[in-house]
């Protein structure tokens, strides 16, 4: 036993050295035009050695250490909590929802411009995550190229406004419908695929769209992107200082108030809020309808679903199409918010983050997904000071989540009647 532990501990210590020395020990310094590799400072070397010794000692006495650790009360305070009763949970959930909507409505009037802008981004991610939740959480189809539909929505608006001067309100349904069409088109080739294979093909699809946008320079401007995307108008009222388009009036002149650039930000935020609420309600309704149950049935057991006369084609395509539709929504809002889009906004990392939101929130659970979208968007902003360690912290948070709450923040619950034991 001791010999085995010693071997294991030695191995671990060596691995620690081998991994951490090159990462922490070497520095790339630029001297003039050339880059020079510099050796480590003595303090770093000592630090690395110390770390290896700690790892060695920990592994050597692991059983004792872990044994005494187990005596301590559980670190996770939620571990032994009883599940809430349904009636209480429903009440709490609706109260929380009301509070969130009220909070979201007064937010732009109390928060700073930057905070409102960030909140708009959060709402865009909420829309995206709710849409992907249909595909991944409910229908169980792992889609790694979801950002493609987001890009389709954004580029639809950008191109339509650039070439035809189409306004936001016209582009919104067109962008969403076009994204849905792309969802349908992608759906066909992947009907027979499942699991890993599906993930790979959808990943490829996401990249195809991005690379196409990058290379069709004559149409999309390639990596230079498209700028000058117009802001949304409120019944023909523009939010700029001067009216850009003939026939429009400007918002501040109509209401006789002083011009403020904040009006536009707040207006965009409110549009995003309304669209996010519409998305949430629409998907909630769909979940309760037969088509929602069909998605879940297909996820649970494809053969059984087929044996009941469900058409795999129809069910899968509907999930893809509806998911893509809401991504198109979000894309249009995003294009309008940024005023400039380029393929760089639609890289794979975006797909990964949206997927992470869905998984962190709890597959299939709307409330959880909304909370996760808020957390995942805001946390990196708060952690801005840590700059390069931001993604590291993000990753660590994810790992901890998966260890403590693998089912997500708020796992999906079914409405059910509870039986009370007889008195």
């Amino acid at each position: 036993m001791a010999a085995h532990n010693l071997k294991h501990a030695l191995f671990c210590a060596i691995v620690t050295l081998v991994i951490s020395y090159p990462i922490l020990g070497f520095n790339l310094e630029s001297q003039g035009t050339s880059v020079i590799l510099e050796g480590a400072k003595t303090s770093t070397v000592i630090g690395v050695l110390l770390a290896a010794v700690i790892v060695f000692l920990f592994q050597l006495f692991r059983d004792n250490v872990m044994g005494s650790l187990r005596q301590l009360p559980a670190v996770n305070p939620l571990a032994n909590r009883k599940p809430m009763e349904q009636s209480r949970r429903l009440k709490l959930e609706s109260a929380l929802l009301t509070l969130m909507v009220i909070g979201a409505l007064i937010w732009p009037f109390i928060a700073s411009r930057g905070a409102v802008d960030l909140a708009t981004l959060v709402l865009i991610y909420i829309m995206l995550a709710l849409g992907l939740n249909v595909v991944v959480g409910l229908a169980g189809l792992l889609d790694l190229g979801y950002v493609a539909f987001y890009a389709v929505g954004a580029y639809t608006f950008a191109l339509l406004s650039q070439y035809y001067g189409v306004s936001f309100w016209f582009a919104l349904p067109i962008g969403a419908l076009l994204a849905a069409l792309f969802g349908l088109v992608l759906g066909f080739p992947v009907l027979r695929l499942r699991g890993d294979y599906l993930a790979i093909v959808t990943l490829g699809f996401g990249e195809i769209i991005r690379i196409l946008l990058n290379n069709m320079t004559s149409l999309t401007g390639g990596p230079n992107g498209i700028g000058g995307i117009p802001d949304p108008t409120l019944f023909g009222m523009e939010f700029g200082r001067r009216v850009k388009e003939e026939g429009n009036t400007s918002f501040h002149e109509t209401f006789g108030i002083a011009y403020s650039s904040e009006h536009k930000v707040i207006f965009l935020y409110l549009i995003a809020l309304v669209l996010a609420v519409i998305t949430a309600i629409a998907i909630r309704r769909l979940m309760r309808m037969p088509v929602g149950r069909a998605w879940e049935a297909l996820r649970e057991d494809e053969i059984a679903a087929k044996s009941l006369g469900l058409s795999r084609t129809a069910v899968k395509l509907s999930a893809f199409t509806i998911g893509a539709f809401f991504a198109g929504f979000a894309g249009t809002v995003f294009a309008s918010k940024q005023g400039f889009i380029s393929p760089e906004s639609f890289v794979f990392l975006e797909s990964a983050i949206i997927l992470a939101i869905v998984v962190l929130g709890g597959m299939g659970s709307q409330m959880g997904v909304i909370l996760a979208a808020i957390a995942v968007t805001i946390l990196p902003e708060l952690a801005r000071e840590f700059s390069e360690y931001r993604m590291l912290i993000f990753g660590a948070a994810m790992v901890l989540m998966m260890v403590w709450r693998p089912q997500g923040l708020m796992p999906m619950r079914r409405i059910h009647i509870e039986l009370k034991p007889q008195e």
Partner: protein, 233 residues
């Protein structure tokens, strides 16, 4: 009601059924028995159009369904209880039943649901429980109940006794008997030959993709070859 005429079915290049003809008449219980790998499940899946027969014909209620889509076949009055039950384990019992009546109206669903609960009082008790948390016997009852939700004229059962305790098997077979009384035609595929033939009006013995024997259930039970091969002498 269901007729298979000289059906050949392939998995890729391998022929699994070499010209099988089976007939199930209205109101009957017909059992199909055979050893592992004889092609029993293949035969059932061919009826469901997944995979489709490469040659021959499958006729249900006078209509040729050989080339129909699975989803259309399953909506035309056949219901199948697939091998290994395959209930939707994350859904509740009630939701499972509702999935069975997916293409029916709400009033039809609540009527069939009440009927299923009458047949299986146990399911009523477990109405709001997740299907995956129930015992094997209860899941089998649920699978049969779910198939009945679409108000089929004919129900196909693939190994309903698989992995169940003898007492539960007895219950399941009693229910199958009841289904016949209600006028539902039953096509039963079983390895549990004794009970399956006992209950059946007629029986077929399938061996390596061919029908070997065909007789009434009683005669097959008495047949020395069948006794040797499937009833343990």
């Amino acid at each position: 009601m269901l007729v298979l005429e000289d059906v050949h079915t392939h998995y890729g290049k391998i022929e699994a059924l070499h010209g099988v003809s089976v007939e199930v008449n209205k109101g009957e219980i017909v059992s199909l028995i055979g050893a592992n790998g004889a092609g029993k499940t293949t035969l059932l899946m061919t009826v469901c159009g997944n995979p489709q027969a490469t040659s021959g014909r499958v006729i249900f209620q006078g209509r040729d369904i050989t080339r129909d889509m699975t989803s259309n076949i399953m909506r035309s009055g056949i219901a199948i209880v697939p091998e290994g039950r395959r209930v939707f384990s994350g859904l509740t019992v009630e939701e499972n039943l509702h999935m069975g009546g997916f293409f029916n109206t709400k009033s039809e669903i609540s009527k069939s649901q009440a009927h299923v609960y009458e047949l299986f009082p146990r399911l009523k008790e477990r109405e709001h429980q997740r299907a995956g948390t129930m015992s094997g016997g209860e899941q089998q009852m649920l699978a049969i109940g779910r198939a009945l939700m679409s108000k089929p004229n004919m129900i196909i059962l693939d190994e309903p006794s698989l992995g169940l305790a003898p007492l539960v098997i007895k219950q399941i077979f009693e229910i199958i008997g009841k289904l016949r009384e209600e006028g539902i035609t039953v096509f039963l595929v079983e390895q549990n030959a004794h009970q399956a033939l006992n209950l059946a009006d007629r029986g077929y013995v399938l061996e390596t993709g061919r029908i070997r024997l065909h007789d009434t259930g009683k005669n097959l039970l008495a047949n020395p070859d069948v006794q040797n091969a499937y009833l343990g002498g």
